[in-house]
Symmetry: D4
Subunit: 217 residues, 8 copies
């Protein structure tokens, strides 16, 4: 098990501690973040409601809260640049921006360079085709979409790099809180598209980071 | 109720009697089709297994069975041409052809002119864009797709005519027998796309026929 | 792609820009609607909560908010009449009125003439039969129903014009937020009834508009 | 507990022993039916495949097998007539006949007088309205329907007697093996319609029998 | 259709007008109830939140609101006694009381005599067995249960009169808002138990009323 | 990790190797069982179709196949008796016998003493109450039931020993292959009833064995 | 039935009365707990919101409320120690603590000795392996986990004592309120793991108590 | 679009044409494969039943059929080695081998070096830990698991390279044909694990190939 532990540690070098903010009380968050901050590393709190961010920002003046991403970051030491290319975060509609932003922010605090391409849903396919240049430049692409979740299939057919699909809970009725998009992505007819949980911008970014920092063994 | 009945009859002028072939015994089918044939009208039997078609073809030499569409037709009097334009049936993959064929065949026996465009799934979007001419010519478009069911959203964004989406049961695992495609289509981000039941090529064609024969009141 | 773009533009002539109001902040809505209003066109904001409508009405004195439809409209230039007939919006119960109203309002701002027929659910079938005249006059019929969603089957059997079914989330328990009605409509035994998402009065109206403005190619 | 047992016995006076035929081997069925037959009472085996009926018919020459109902009956002593009125079994389509037949057959062997009304689905509502006389004569009505399962709502609105709805597994795609019909019936907008399991003609008949034989305490 | 209408009217003699209170605004409720009250008949408003009952009680001093049943009644003329026996409402746990109460109240305003038996869930089976007398006296039994919904099977096995099962949304986790209880009841191994929608005490009472007032034709 | 491995081995002393027979080819089974048999221990193959058992029985003359349990056992050395009491396997209907038998057989080959109580479903509650003696004698009770799965709640309320509930896939329609029974058991109102997977008699027996052989640490 | 009742009473000796706090009004709770307290026994109220605990604490100064477990206890007489070993409550993440705490608290008030092991989720498997000592000491293990619910499989493979799995509703998106964890646990590849309802720490503790107090008959 | 097409072609250099074998007739397969073979490239047919492979093997003597993977390959020109490291395919149980084999075979024909690690399910965690060396050597890891699908969480916590999870349909009852495993993987508590469709070994391999051949832009 020694090798494993070593490698695991290596992976985490300069990487932030991550706290899952949802369902923790303000008090619990203050304790956890406080204790972590003492180690001098960077911290990322995801799925954090705005009203719970307040006390944390007060206690940690160096922290920042991103309303869109609903995430708090505390950068105590410089983030080491990593990655052999850019991560591109594409999103279908303006309503998907929060999830896309969680992905961008996570990818950046992990050390990656990130680009964003917004509002290029498949019902206006020319909008995506017009930005083929951005797609071609990316080393990894994260595609965020709600409703029918069709965008990853189109993107997956246009590029040869890894594509990670993130379904969002945007929509109503038979969208079933993101299930329609999730199923669409799992059944993508573009070969080799992989999928993460509904609204899981964090997970998609972490997967992209695993890919972007992959070393030759 | 008199007016209704009249109009209903008018609708059916020259239109075939339709039999739902699934789950009926060979004997029942012979009786039903036999009785209908005596009235001299045209007959369409849908969802008919090949082995059950045999005895019907023997009894009714004028009948024809389409293996792809799994439908039997018996045309006893000329089908009156109707419709103010062409109905275009588009399908995503070659596995969707049976459902597309059921739609074409139904639309034709109802008197409509029909075109087909096959294998233009969204993972190779250029295949669809290359046939923009066909899309532009159509009066109504039926879009048949399984797996993630994304094609109707793209088509719906490219044209202004009515678009009817048909999910198919093609796929496996989380395709759930067409549910993934159905949900995708119900949540289409292209405004004004309507949907029919999984594998219901017949229903889509009938809806297209309602649209194509629509009169000014 | 040139032809497509042209046609697309043609479709939108005089048509409103549509904003999906749900899940956008008041601030975002002010920005988006403000920017759109500068182009001088008409605007429709759907699924807009009453409390978010306030600031928009203040900023845009010409705008109007329909509480039932939960929609805001800003008409800056006359809506060009279109359509070869009337769109009839039928609804099963008084609780379905909001969705029916969203449909009427959308169809009207797209330029169509619209009639409404309310509270004609199938448990009192004579109420519907008594208004056969209205059904016979319509060029397209939108049928809105919650609970078991049976009304479109009855209407679809009475008329030969296109019928678009809209399930609503009205009901409780095994209504599952509109799923019971949605499934009922997808399995309608009336041939050629098409369906849109739960509570999607907007989509039904847009589909009816596609049908009602359909040109001979 | 004595009273209970007594009443229970009383209920069963002359009533058949019922065997659930599905999933029992031919051998098991021969043993069970053989043992029961020795008591000299009547026997009903439901959900019995045709190939398993053969050996039972050979062993028990007095038995009869109904292919539609998929039920075997062995009447060894006269069925005592009971019931204060007729039970009417209504069914929507010809494909629903097997379930309707299971209901009729069960109701009859329990001693009730039974009428049938077939192929009166809601997409051709005049067919039902034309037989209002039959509806008016019934003491209890069983309504059997697949697909969208809308018929019980219409019937329930037309009569004041008890209405028992039986969803059938007829349909495909989003019919989900009878779930669409089941949900439709559970959400019926006609007050006081009750429901049994999918394809459970037996249960509906037994419930109708409970109602039809109800005594003043 | 004349006969039907007559019978329908007959059914409603002295019966209350029923309003579905959920999802209607206070204003709408005042209008609807006000208009109905003018006809001098009785009124029942179900699924009415306490805060919406206030203004109605003020406007109609003769009205009464039952907090448990969440129902408002306005009795303007004496309820005609009907029914050939008592309706017994049995419920499994104290948390099921609201639904049981909705049933009792509805059955009473329809003219029936009603008994209640509370807190006799199957995990303490002796509690039910101890009250066999009450079960034996009833003409119709309504059984209300949440969680696993097992009580109707036990009751259905103890009596020969009609049993109507009402699943409630009581429970958490895999109770799925009453779905577990609903499925349990639909699959009851007691023959001839019928089922209504989750929490639908009103519907169960109406069905019991149909049974209890059933005439010989 | 040493302790764990030790204890794990200790657990398996004299216990059979278990093979999951489903979905393995005849050839694979011969190889796997052959290799295991060489170690001289006992072997249990569960979920084994009868036609696949044949070649195994030929190759291993000491093996036995139980058609009901669909399990093959090869006992090469005496099963060491264990357990501080009897395991009682109770089942609701005769159709549940196969799952009950899989449980009994598994419990026995693990060294436990086992009793069976069959056909005591809740719709005839006296049948269970009549055998209170058996319930009282057991150290652990496994309750097997399909359809509404109510039996474990009743048993759990009658005894203080551990109760393990096994839902079976017996039933049709809304039984959903055992889901109705599974949900019923998970929501049991009897405190402290635990549940295993649908049809998992093996798992229930193994859990009972863990309980019955539990040592004071 | 006498024997049963006796044993049942015996089981409850010194055991608390348990109240399901959810969905009861403050008033109802005061009445129920008040009446129970008069008998001098111990009381446990589960699933009790903090704001409803207040009045109960005021009325009963001896009561205590555990915010994590959301449970109120009133110990009026000493809890008799029971159990032949320790119950260990293991939980995967810090967010699962409330459910774990409900289990511990319940097990303790039933008289058992309890240990806790927190934050040993499978994504950092060394954390669990490092505490093998605790696992080895336990007589019964309760494993609480949300998200993918994998922990019980790992624990079940490491020990031979009974393992009870409790899925929690922790997670989002495709966690479906605990369904993902529940399914994972029901399908555990570790033989003989049993499962209780989502978030049901109480039930798991009660089951562990049944096991831990099991007597030789 | 030119750049895209180029890159797309570049991706496919030496890569096989892929045919989805399921649901195609023997005749269709002969035509499709025949036409493709003429171009001299390599061909992969997935999800191909053994009986349909026969005629293809006869016609194309150079083809090979892998019974486990249910895939046919026709290698007409040498597969160009690619990839910056090895792809490791890990699988939980022997029943998962077919899906694992589909992944290996696909990855190999795309030019990657592949290792396999079989039967290391989480219920015997030491089996996985004992092969940490293999995990450390891999550039990308594909983890295949059915039932509760827990293995990817454990692997994801042990390594920093990309992990792609493949749920399989292995299991019964509440495994729901792979849904339990799919949900488990989507909710993995190991950050950055991505998921493909149930049984989609092909897709996982293609995604691993995208990662392994990723170039610096
Ligand atoms: N948004 C998120 N979605 C899924 N997992 C997350 C998310 N944020 C944090 N996590 C995971 O949760 C862990 C922290 O959980 P906790 O100890 O409960 O704060 C991290 O190590 C991450 O792997
Ligand atoms: N109520 C609605 N239901 C479904 N789609 C809608 C609705 N309202 C607007 N849309 C679609 O959403 C698009 C605008 O989305 P957005 O850019 O997010 O405001 C419009 O072009 C419509 O196609
Ligand atoms: N078609 C059916 N649907 C539901 N329950 C049935 C059916 N047929 C028989 N039963 C019930 O199953 C019991 C007999 O079951 P068994 O002892 O397994 O043959 C009868 O007493 C009936 O209550
Ligand atoms: N009927 C069954 N249900 C659930 N798990 C089983 C069953 N039979 C065997 N198993 C488990 O499957 C393992 C063997 O799987 P395998 O190596 O695929 O044969 C055994 O160790 C058991 O834990
Ligand atoms: Mg947009
Ligand atoms: Mg293709
Ligand atoms: Mg009304
Ligand atoms: Mg018919
Ligand atoms: Mg109670
Ligand atoms: Mg029986
Ligand atoms: Mg943690
Ligand atoms: Mg194994």
């Amino acid at each position: 098990g020694v090798a494993m532990i070593d490698r695991h540690r290596e992976l985490r070098q300069g990487a932030p501690e991550v706290v899952f903010g949802e369902g923790k009380s303000g008090e619990q968050l203050l304790t956890i973040v406080g204790r972590m901050a003492e180690h001098g590393g960077n911290i990322l709190v995801t799925r954090l409601a705005a009203d719970k961010a307040g006390p944390l920002l007060e206690r940690h003046p160096g922290a920042a809260y991103d309303r869109d991403a609903r995430a708090l970051t505390l950068v105590q030491k410089p983030v080491a640049k990593c990655g052999i290319g850019k991560i591109l975060v594409v999103c279908a509609g303006t309503s998907d921006i929060p999830v896309a932003r969680e992905a961008s922010l996570t990818a950046r605090i992990l050390g990656n360079e990130v680009d964003e391409l917004v509002d290029v849903g498949v019902a206006g396919i020319h909008r995506l085709l017009a930005r083929a240049d951005l797609l071609q430049e990316a080393a990894v692409i994260i595609v965020v979409a709600g409703m029918e979740g069709a965008l990853p299939s189109v993107v997956g057919g246009l590029v040869s790099v890894p594509v990670i699909a993130v379904p969002t809970s945007i929509g109503y009725g038979a969208a079933f809180g993101g299930v329609a998009a999730l199923l669409g992505m799992l059944n993508s007819c573009a070969a080799g598209v992989t999928v993460v949980n509904i609204d899981n911008g964090f997970g998609a970014a972490f997967a992209a980071h695993r890919i972007n920092t992959r070393r030759e063994p």
